[in-house]
Amino acid sequence: MTSELDIFVGNTTLIDEDVYRLWLDGYSVTDAVALRVRSGILEQTGATAAVLQSDTMDHYRTFHMLERLLHAPPKLLHQLIFQIPPSRQALLIERYYAFDEAFVREVLGKKLSKGTKKDLDDISTKTGITLKSCRRQFDNFKRVFKVVEEMRGSLVDNIQQHFLLSDRLARDYAAIVFFANNRFETGKKKLQYLSFGDFAFCAELMIQNWTLGAVDSQMDDMDMDLDKEFLQDLKELKVLVADKDLLDLHKSLVCTALRGKLGVFSEMEANFKNLSRGLVNVAAKLTHNKDVRDLFVDLVEKFVEPCRSDHWPLSDVRFFLNQYSVSVHSLDGFRHQALWDRYMGTLRGCLLRLYHD
């Protein structure tokens, strides 16, 4: 006796959250059944393995049918085939678009292309995430990217509208899309200590302040690209380190203000010029795409690492960066105050976030 056909169709589509997770995680039916058995469900319910197998198959089939709709979530809301309560629809979408931290760190900033897709094998091996799940996550990134790429207006809003994601997840996707578009390097060894959250935080600040949309949301450009003009202007900041008088003045202003307030004052004093040169040079280099990509590498090399090697506590870093930014306002010879604030305001936020072990 073999089962040729075995289906269950409810008027309200049954969604089992646990099975959904297993499916999203890319387990085969057999593996999923084994995992469910291990969870002790048989003992709880008195069911048999055959029942579990049939149940799992059913759910997998349903998810497979739903997957097409999940690719365009508004379709899931309007379709008539599966009657699913709104809360369940939200859960299906949210979980489908959720991603693994380990995975996203691997592809963050990479071009979402066929080439990268080929590397998924390696990523799967490295992270222990099933290839199937990697593919789903990668395709999600790519799909969102494609849809919002050419769109005007707020990136987060666009994502939310077209994919019906929660605010939190939409912001994460905005970061992913932003990183992919600007191809920021995140994979270098010295950046490994950074989490996706760190990058997402920076991405949000940059989207808010450094893109075209940031200046004028009516502009018919979008959040994805950095404001070219702004990057061009950043060259003007070079004077802060190139003009020796200005640099000395800046240093003395900062030192005066921080004397006695900083545990690492002497180290700061000794390193000020290096640090300042680093931060300003990063700004000046952003005209080149290559250097834009290396932004995070540079920040870590030029600022985070020196401070860390001198064991600056985070509070001191904060005091320093605040004072460092503010003091520029007192430099009479410096004319680019607004530009400086736009640059340094964001950079300060990023650096504070990046500064940890």
Partner: protein, 1041 residues
């Protein structure tokens, strides 16, 4: 009444890409009704076209309005080649033809293609203007309402219940026409869908005409079926009950009239339970009692049993109500006379209803059924489907005579079915013989005199259990006792019926689903030889199914079956029998005895040990079941009940031969032989298997109950969460071990595993009950068995669940009853004495007699004698609001649905798709139905030539059933409804050819589209528009895109 049909095509969405180059579609729409076709403009390059067409107007007569479906075809325009069809929508406009139903059909319909399934949606608006026309020769029957619901619909009142209406139409099946060889599968499928749609329209119209002739205005319990007879054609047939219904004026009224005794029970002309005090006469003489107690008394016992008091099923002398015997006779005669006058003029006094207004059902006689095996031949003249008509007429005649033999003039809970394999067809009909209150059957209801008697009449709640036949003239042997409730009238020891449990019946504990499952191998044969083989097998199957049911019922410690449905399915090389029913313990019937096992060779020590082991297991199971289903009937002391009177068998024989019952019925008691009832004899391995299989049925996990009736006896506090589902399984038998035993085991496992899976899947709903569990078996190929289950899971509130059982127990404590320990015995070969048919002789005889009578030479005929069941009684006088009617049911707290919305769903909370509930029940828990919008009756075919790509057979069928649900919901929503009640999947024919990567499936579903309002909303909103959307879960805000 000719009319003007107006159609507007608004827009489409989610269309498939038809042009690979542009990834877009140039769609337009053809709207066709009858022979007229209109087209919209082509909407270029869009997957979401906005046609916004003008109103297309069709001027048609109402005959066409009833017969024809509106056919909407969406196509992709192609300049150079033929336009490609995207898909179609068929809209049945019947609901627009009667005034109280829908006024407009408007909404998104899935665009369906028989090869690709659903491909996007189309927004359509349909209206009808009817002109009055008093032509009395009209062929249409616009205005007659149709209901699938097998009870009086909730917002109506039955003025008169006229009776049985039936009709059938036949045609050639397009799939088998010569043209099918040259046309595409799509064209063939569409021809079929359209033809069936036409035929059902025609059928409905014809039935409507009959109703008008009877001066009715509605058909309730409308059941339409298709017989796919292959080469010989396509038959669409329908049965129903014609009624005159009155809409209840106040839609907000909480109590549906049919449940409210005060409204309905104006008169109970035949009160069978006169004031108890008048019966205080002394004990009747033993002699008198003898006449009505037929007991398989002790003296016949081959097997010694442990208790001397056993078999006290029949009343002992000295019962307080001895006078019943005296009074019962004349009274019944009177009743019979009166009812007869009401029913006499009817050819078939049948009713497809399964639930009735209070007072309608006076007595129930038991199940009557008839089957006949026919050989199909080509239908030569579709306009005169006389053969098929004659076949059914013959079966109905037989049913009628069975009912007569039971002293009944009517058959309720009546249904008909067929099973076809190649050219052999088994026609089956079954129902419950009953005596009805003629008041509902006649015109000119007596309004005046009766109000006053209402209240005092209520005590007749056990009345339906009382035997309708004369105990002096019993049609079959039965153990009779005095009713455990009123003590006045006789009741049988078990009662089988096809109806729902009457709402006022007193039940102890809860009910449960009981199934008998059986397979029999048969040799492959052709034509007549095949029909003969089947005919010969049928009586054995009926017999065994019955035995199984009886054993399982006893094993559950229950004494009555409701909703009994026995399905016999014929395949190439086997017959399958599946009986489903809901077992309950009726307080009015005696406590069922246990089951005793007897061994053939009592001297063998180890064998005996084995036997006693089995016996212990059985006893344990019974005890466990009693606990599980909370069956704790009151102890009744022996003296009150009286002891059984040994009735000489001769005597009952004699009486029976005097009765006018038909041959079959008379033959029944041959089966009784000389053996004791209720002994399972283990004399060979087969019997051993049977006993084992008895014990293998696992009860549902805790928190689950199941039944196949509308509601679960003993549970009355439903909450509003419901989940309707369909589950299909097909297994392939390995051809090596095809023995009856292996087959039985496979089949049994299949059903049990299916149930287990259901329990597992629905575990999140606990505590809940699977209601209206409907199993259908088919044998699509040699080694394939297909089981389809449709049911609804309803949650209930556990905390209130207990109260029901308490009261009756206390109340009845002072009553007497037979000793619980008593053992009823019956031999395996004979089954219970209530089994009326003799399994052996009838086949041949009938074969000959029937075929000689009928003048249909090709048809091989046999009737299996129907078997007839006994009736039961309900005990207990009135507890005020005890087992409750739907009224209480609807009071359930409105928790359910609300729970699972609004969690963390920011943008999704607004769905534009309204929720449509589907349920096989006639009501929605926690809600009130305010409007019936019309009948939904849809037929779909789906075919694929890329089975593997669609996920194999499971993927294919899963998607198809989901699509069918979607299309039903869309039609209901377009009518302005939010639920389908009395939903049924009447057919699910699945064929596959994996080698060719092909599969095909046909599905036919029906139900009543309704508008319902949550009771919680009703209370709040009360007067303001009850028709609008009331579901808590469908917040109708627009989605922002």
């Amino acid at each position: 009444m000719p009319g003007k049909l107006k159609v507007k095509i608004v827009a489409g969405r989610h269309l498939p890409v038809m042009d690979r180059a542009s990834d877009l579609t140039d769609a337009f729409v053809e709207v066709k009704f009858g022979n007229t076709t209109f087209k919209t403009d082509v909407y270029l390059k869009s997957l979401n076209p906005q046609w916004n067409s003008e109103w297309f107007k069709f001027e048609v007569d109402d005959e066409d309005l009833q017969d024809e479906p509106l056919q909407i075809t969406v196509l992709d325009h192609d300049t150079y080649s033929a336009n490609d069809a995207i898909g179609k929508v068929y809209i049945d406009i019947d609901p627009l033809l009667y005034s109280e139903a829908a006024t407009v059909i408007s909404g998104w319909f899935p665009i369906y293609d028989t090869i690709h399934g659903i491909r996007g949606e189309i927004n359509v608006v349909v209206k009808v203007d009817l002109f009055n026309d008093l032509n009395r020769f009209r062929q249409s029957s616009c205005g007659v309402k149709f209901f699938c619901t097998t009870s009086i619909p909730k917002c109506y009142r039955a003025v008169i219940i006229h009776g049985f209406v039936e009709e059938l139409v036949v045609n050639e099946d397009p799939e088998y026409q010569w043209i099918d060889r040259i046309r595409t599968p799509r064209a063939s499928n569409e021809a079929r869908q359209r033809l069936i749609s036409l035929m059902s329209g025609e059928l409905q119209r014809k039935i409507g005409l009959k109703v008008l002739e009877m001066r009715g205005n509605a058909v309730v319990g409308y059941l339409q079926c298709f017989d796919l007879e292959g080469e010989s054609g396509l038959v669409v047939r329908a049965i129903g009950t014609a009624c005159t219904l009155d809409k209840l004026s106040s839609p907000a009224a909480f109590l549906p009239a049919c449940n409210s005794p005060s409204k309905e029970m104006k008169e109970i002309p035949f009160n069978e339970d006169p004031n108890p005090n008048t019966h205080s006469s002394g004990p009747s003489t033993p002699l008198k009692n003898q006449t009505y107690s037929f007991s398989p008394s002790k003296s016949y016992s081959r097997q010694s049993s442990s208790s001397d008091t056993d078999l006290s099923l029949t009343p002992k002398t000295g019962m307080g109500s001895g006078s019943a015997g005296k009074e019962g006779g004349p009274f019944k005669a009177l009743l019979r006379q009166q009812t007869q006058s009401a029913l006499e003029q009817r050819e078939f006094p049948f009713f497809t209803l399964t639930a009735f207004p209070p007072g309608f059902l006076v007595h129930v006689g038991g199940v009557v059924s008839a089957r006949s095996v026919k050989l199909l031949d080509r239908i030569h003249n579709p306009d005169e489907p006389e053969t098929r008509d004659a076949w059914w007429a013959e079966i109905r005649q037989e049913i009628k005579s069975h009912a007569k033999a039971l002293g009944c003039h009517a058959v309720v809970g009546y249904s008909e079915s067929t099973s076809i394999c190649e050219e052999v067809c088994i026609l089956s009909a079954s129902g419950t013989a009953a005596v009805l209150n003629p008041r509902f059957l006649q015109d000119g209801t007596v309004e005046g005199c009766l109000e006053q008697r209402l209240e005092e009449n209520l005590p007749t709640r056990c009345g339906f259990c009382h035997i309708p036949y004369d105990e002096l003239n019993m049609p079959f042997p039965a153990h009779l006792t005095y009713c455990y409730n009123c003590r006045k009238q006789k009741v049988p020891d078990v009662l089988f019926t096809t109806i729902d449990l009457p709402t006022d019946a007193t039940v102890i504990g809860k009910g449960c689903l009981i199934q008998a499952r059986l397979c029999r191998l048969k040799k492959k044969a052709q034509a007549e030889a095949n029909a003969t083989a089947i005919s010969n097998l049928l009586p054995f199957m009926e017999y065994e199914v019955h035995t199984q049911l009886m054993n399982k019922l006893k094993l559950k410690g229950m004494n009555a079956l409701f909703g009994l449905r026995i399905q016999i399915t014929v395949g190439e090389n086997m017959l399958m029998g599946l009986a489903s029913a809901t077992g309950v313990y009726l307080a009015a019937l005696p406590t069922p005895g246990g089951i005793q096992i007897a061994g053939k060779t009592p001297n063998d020590g180890s064998y005996e040990q084995h036997i006693s082991h089995m016996q212990k297991k059985i006893n344990d199971t019974i005890a466990k079941n009693k606990e599980l289903y909370e069956i704790n009937p009151p102890e009744i002391s022996e003296e009150i009940i009286g002891s059984p009177i040994p009735e000489p068998r001769q005597r009952s024989r004699l009486l029976r031969s005097q009765s006018e019952s038909s041959d079959e019925v008379t033959e029944l008691d041959l089966s009784h032989g000389k053996k004791d009832a209720f002994v399972l004899e283990i004399d060979d391995t087969d019997a051993m298997e049977d006993v084992h299989s008895l014990l293998t049925d696992v009860p549902p996990p805790s928190g689950f109950y199941s039944c196949n009736t509308e509601i679960m006896p003993g549970i009355n506090n439903w909450t509003s969460e419901i989940q309707m589902f369909t589950s299909v399984r097909v297994i392939r038998l390995s051809s090596l071990n095809l023995t009856n035993q292996a087959l039985n085991k496979n089949f049994n496992d299949l059903c049990e595993n299916l149930l287990k899976s259901l329990y597992f899947k629905l575990r999140s709903m606990i505590p809940c009950c699977l209601c209206h569990v409907n199993f259908t078996v088919s044998l699509p190929e040699d080694e394939l068995i297909q089981v389809t289950v449709t049911a609804v899971a309803i949650t209930f509130d556990k905390n209130q669940a207990l109260q029901t059982t308490k009261t009756p127990v206390e109340k009845s404590l002072q009553r007497a009853s037979t000793d619980n320990e008593e053992l009823l015995q019956f031999p395996l070969e004979l089954c219970s004495d209530s089994f009326p048919s003799h399994p052996f002789p009838p086949a041949k005889e009938h074969l000959e007699s029937a075929s000689s009578n009928s003048g249909i030479p090709a048809a091989q005929r046999d009737r299996c004698s129907s078997w007839i069941e006994l009736i039961k009684l309900k005990a207990q006088t009135i507890r005020r609001g005890s087992i409750k009617t739907t009224v209480t049911v609807e009071k359930a707290s409105p928790v359910g649905d609300g729970n699972f919305r609004n969690r963390s769903a920011p943008p999704c909370a607004n769905s534009t798709v309204g929720v449509v509930k589907m349920t096989p029940l006639s009501f929605i828990p926690g809600a009130k139905i305010t409007k019936y919008l019309g009948i939904i009756n849809m037929f779909f075919i789906r075919e694929t030539t890329s089975l593997r790509e669609e996920g194999g057979v499971s993927g294919f069928l899963h998607a198809f059933i989901a699509e069918v649900f979607a299309m039903v919901r869309a039609h209901v929503a377009a009518l302005g409804g939010n639920a389908v009640v009395s939903y049924i999947m009447k057919q699910c024919v699945f064929m596959e050819n994996p080698n060719k990567n092909q599969a095909q499936c046909l599905i036919n579903v029906s139900g009543d589209a309704v508008v319902f309002v949550r009771e919680s909303d009703l209370e709040v909103v009360s007067s303001q528009q009850p028709t609008t959307n009331c579901q808590s879960s469908c917040t109708e805000s627009e989605v922002t895109t």
